[in-house]
């Protein structure tokens, strides 16, 4: 299937917050209560439609344990979007967000869209982090925020798709240099730049203008 754009995502966050389950819910629309542990990195992909254009999301799911942090860092480069996940039933996963965010900001391109996700919203009775706190953190750091449940699928579609919309808008505004694959965006095989099907805003980012 031919897509207009391909966006690369990376999912990050502490171990056990539900990164792989979010990915599985999004790509396969199912929840697996017992899931294999992610060692190193795993991968998933799905097509979505934005503005009548087919967009392929290519999602890299990383290991959360501290030991793997240096490996995770090499995936930030070349990602257009990041899902930063914490577990609303475990306060410490929320406390570690600053470190994750610093890592992400330092190793990614500056335009990377970051979506903050408070996962496991179905476990209301065990909640340790208020929704307002997630909201406040997101506002303070300029992130989009959503609470999701990989179990009930609540907001999972929205989380992935809203991130894509944000990236898409940035492309329209000409913020992303789509000719530079290091930004995590690829133009589909039938939509190469020579076909002059570039969105209006992106003309400013001709190869000579250099990238961010």
């Amino acid at each position: 299937m031919s897509y207009a754009y391909l966006f690369k995502y990376i999912i990050i966050g502490d171990t056990g917050v539900g990164k792989s389950c979010l990915l599985l819910q999004f790509t396969d629309k199912r929840f697996q209560p017992v899931h294999d542990l992610t060692i190193g990195v795993e991968f998933g992909a799905r097509m979505i439609t934005i503005d009548n254009k087919l967009i392929k999301l290519q999602i890299w799911d990383t290991a959360g344990q501290e030991a793997f942090r240096s490996i995770t860092r090499s995936y930030y480069r070349g990602a257009a979007g990041a899902l930063l996940v914490y577990d609303i039933t475990r306060r410490e996963t929320f406390n570690h967000l600053t470190t994750w965010l610093e890592d992400a900001r330092q190793h990614s391109n500056s335009n990377m869209v970051i979506m903050l996700i408070g996962n496991k919203s179905d476990l209301e009775s065990r909640r340790e982090v208020k929704k307002e706190e997630g909201d406040a953190f997101a506002r303070e750091h300029g992130l989009i925020f959503m609470e999701t449940s990989a179990r009930t699928a609540a907001n999972v579609e929205e989380a992935f798709i809203n991130t894509a919309k944000e990236i898409y808008e940035k492309i329209q505004e000409g913020v992303f240099d789509i000719n530079n694959e290091a930004n995590g965006i690829k133009i589909g095989p039938q939509h190469s730049p020579s076909n002059a099907s570039l969105p209006p805003g992106s003309q400013s980012s001709s190869p000579s203008s250099g990238c961010c």
């Binding site: 391909l6 690369k8 171990t15 056990g16 396969d28 697996q32 017992v34 899931h35 294999d36 542990l37 060692i39 190193g40 990195v41 991968f43 992909a45 290519q58 290991a63 344990q65 501290e66 030991a67 793997f68 942090r69 240096s70 490996i71 860092r73 090499s74 410490e92 406390n95 570690h96 470190t99 610093e102 890592d103 330092q106 690829k186 095989p189």
Partner: protein
């Protein structure tokens, strides 16, 4: 109460076809025959016949015995009777990061096996992993150990599984499961090299995606157990225990070669990853009775039998020897460790560069030097709390700080440099643990090397105020031994601490700690130090003035200044300016008349004169050197600044910016020379 579990496969029996049962029996018989001829247990011979038997897969019932023998775990277990039980008892219920992480991973280790749907399997796995973390806190628990251990528990008794894990972590896969999976990162590099040697075309195709690193980490860390059906991967584990880690490389190369066409056709790393995942999931075991492979409820297309895969691996890449792998490991290890350290170094620099004392490049030079020194002294702390900022990763003690101060700071050259270093160290040590983090070190050096003239002068002034410079340290006869703290000063500092407590959001993190601590818990001295620190480090947040200085402290200050400048310059002008500025200040201190009366005109050194005068005068001050009742002499920091700024050589000295990088180069050279002469002396 708990008891040792037997191999979990004996408790949770899979339904096996007659055909596979028969195959199992045949294999077992072949092994019995081999034992009869070549011995059994630790003393058996390794024959080509045995290699063939291993290659077709060890029968399930014999894995326990043969894995333990091949790996050498028998010896470990036999010479450590009872150790496992003690470790389990020890580790059980202990609250620590490792145990918490283990708990979270128990149910996602081998979820497809029925043994781990019950408490029997889960508890056994918990015991093995927590016991290991208790045995070796250096490694503790690293994800992937859980997957390997659960497979070991299927085929081996609990205690045997534990000792096999010990062998894996400590000898068979050296350094794999430490805090940064260094060993596995090194082996990824080795694989990359082997691919370039054996499959050059594919290597250039894969390199474009950075693929090899991406895919192979889990291959190494779990010996393929997490990437293909475990009942197939155990055959690779058989060979691994028999032949060592080189098997992983041979199999990895075979897998890549088998997919090289598809991989070369891929447009991006995602597609390539998919190709390999599909292939790996479809690897089946010939002796599983032809069952379909079910994954996530779906039947997977079979790709190759593990027997064929292993046969190809041995026939095509059997020439790769353990020796070659070892040579390559040594070659790549240094770079991998260096990369990790550089990464950490860059993070440290990023976390402090906004403090503005030095450029990022200069900071990197300094951080590298600190790392080298730490490595030389002892190991740099590998396990630091990830929730703390990067600049906490390197811990600098006074000894190292003194070296840095002497080598880098323009204040570190005189005979009083060590005193200054000690006081500066104490001033910057915000949590009072006799260790500075990198940010504090950089602030200390930056304040003396690159900060503005007045900031530097204020710091210099502060370093001669009590309690940074306790009065006890001033060798002057005028001290009384009163134990009371000057009430004026106490009020001053309490005031400041109070202001800071309310103001902590505005203060930078460098002074935050002190601002947030409960005031009641802190002694007057600690609070004063933290107040002074915030006045020096974050003057913008704190507009308050520094306390006034008493005469003994001022004289000590002038001593230091004289000493420092003496190292720098020797011309007349210097003496002249020091003397004139000092005189002016003393006059300001309202004791000028008596000073002149006592002054020996023939003596050019104002400092000596001042001391002589001190001896004669009967001035009394309290324990902290603050002005006592009889003597009112004191100067304010504003007076100190205004007067000092009239002495050009002093201004020049305190304005000169140090080139940190050049200073570090020089320091490193002199360290090298010291080390060399030390080794020459000892040899």
């Amino acid at each position: 109460k708990w008891e040792l579990q037997p191999p979990l496969r004996t408790l949770f029996k899979k339904e096996v076809s007659k055909e596979s049962l028969a195959q199992e029996e045949v294999k077992a018989k072949q092994w019995e025959l081999h034992f009869a001829e070549y011995g059994r247990g630790v003393s058996m011979y390794r024959t080509t016949e045995m290699a063939k038997l291993v290659l077709q897969g060890v029968p399930n019932s014999m894995r326990r015995e043969l894995w333990l023998t091949f790996a050498g775990a028998w010896n470990e277990m036999a010479s450590n009777r009872g150790v496992y039980k003690d470790l389990v008892e020890n580790a059980m219920g202990r609250v620590c990061t490792a145990n918490e992480e283990i708990e979270r991973d128990l149910h996602r280790s081998l979820p497809e096996h029925p043994a781990f749907h019950t408490d029997i399997g889960i508890s056994a796995l918990r015991r093995v992993l927590t016991a290991y973390a208790a045995r070796n806190p250096q490694i503790g628990y690293c994800q992937a150990m859980n997957i390997v251990s659960s497979v070991l528990l299927i085929y081996c008794g609990e205690e045997e599984a534990f000792w096999l894990l010990v062998c894996l972590c400590e000898s068979l896969l050296p350094d794999y499961y430490n805090t940064k999976v260094v060993g596995a990162l090194v082996d990824q590099e080795v694989l990359d090299y082997l691919v370039s040697e054996h499959l050059p075309k594919l290597h250039s195709a894969l390199q474009q995606f950075g693929m090899i690193k991406m895919i192979s980490l889990s291959w190494f860390l779990t010996i393929f157990l997490s990437v293909m059906p475990y009942s197939s991967a155990v055959n690779i584990v058989d060979c691994f225990f028999y032949d060592g880690a080189k098997v992983i490389f041979q199999v990895a190369l075979t897998i890549l070669e088998a997919n090289h066409e598809k991989l070369q056709d891929c447009h991006d790393d995602g597609e390539a990853m998919q190709v390999l995942t599909t292939y790996l999931c479809g690897i089946y075991n010939e002796h599983d009775g032809g069952h379909p492979i079910i994954k996530d409820g779906e039947t997977v297309v079979k790709s190759i039998s593990v027997q064929a895969l292993l046969y190809n691996a041995y026939s095509k890449y059997g020439t790769i020897t353990a020796g070659e792998i070892e040579r390559q490991r040594v070659k790549h290890r240094l770079r991998v460790v260096q990369n990790l350290e550089d990464g950490l170094g860059r993070n440290i620099v990023r976390s402090i560069q906004s403090d503005g004392y030095f450029s990022p490049e200069q900071l990197m030079d300094l951080v590298s030097f600190i790392r080298e020194e730490l490595v030389g002294r002892h190991r740099p702390d590998e396990r630091y709390d990830p929730a703390t900022p990067p600049y906490e990763a390197y811990r600098v003690d006074y000894e190292l700080f003194r070296l840095l101060f002497a080598g880098i700071s323009p204040w570190g050259k005189g005979s009083k440099a060590d005193d200054l270093a000690a006081r500066l160290f104490r001033l910057m040590d915000s949590n009072n643990d006799e260790i500075l983090n990198v940010r504090e070190v950089v602030a200390a050096l930056g304040l003396t090397c690159t900060s503005e003239l007045t900031v530097r002068l204020k710091l210099f002034y502060t370093l001669h105020l009590p309690p940074v410079l306790p009065t006890i340290e001033i060798h002057s006869p005028i001290l009384s031994d009163g134990a009371e703290v000057a009430s004026e000063a106490t009020e001053f500092f309490e005031d400041i601490s109070f202001a800071f407590g309310n103001n902590s959001t505005e203060s930078t993190p460098l002074v935050e700690k002190s601002g947030n601590s409960s005031a009641e818990e802190l002694t007057w001295e600690v609070r004063s130090l933290s107040s002074l620190r915030s006045l020096v480090v974050a003057p913008k947040q704190d507009q308050r003035s520094l306390p006034r200085m008493s005469q003994p402290h001022f004289i000590a200050l002038w001593h230091t200044l004289y000493d420092m400048l003496q190292q720098e310059l020797t011309d007349e002008e210097l003496y002249h300016s020091i003397a004139s500025v000092g005189t002016l200040l003393l006059r300001l201190g309202d004791v000028v008349k008596r000073f002149y009366a006592a002054r020996d005109e023939s003596n050019d050194s104002l400092v000596t004169a001042a001391e002589q005068w001190n001896e004669k005068s009967g001035m009394v001050s309290d324990q902290n050197g603050n002005p006592g009742e009889e003597a009112e002499w004191s100067i304010a920091v504003e007076q100190f600044l205004a007067t000092t700024l009239t002495g050009q050589p002093i201004v020049d000295f305190f304005s000169k910016k140090t080139d940190l990088s050049a200073a570090v180069v020089k320091l490193r050279k002199s360290r090298l020379n010291t080390l060399q002469s030390h080794s020459e002396l000892s040899s």
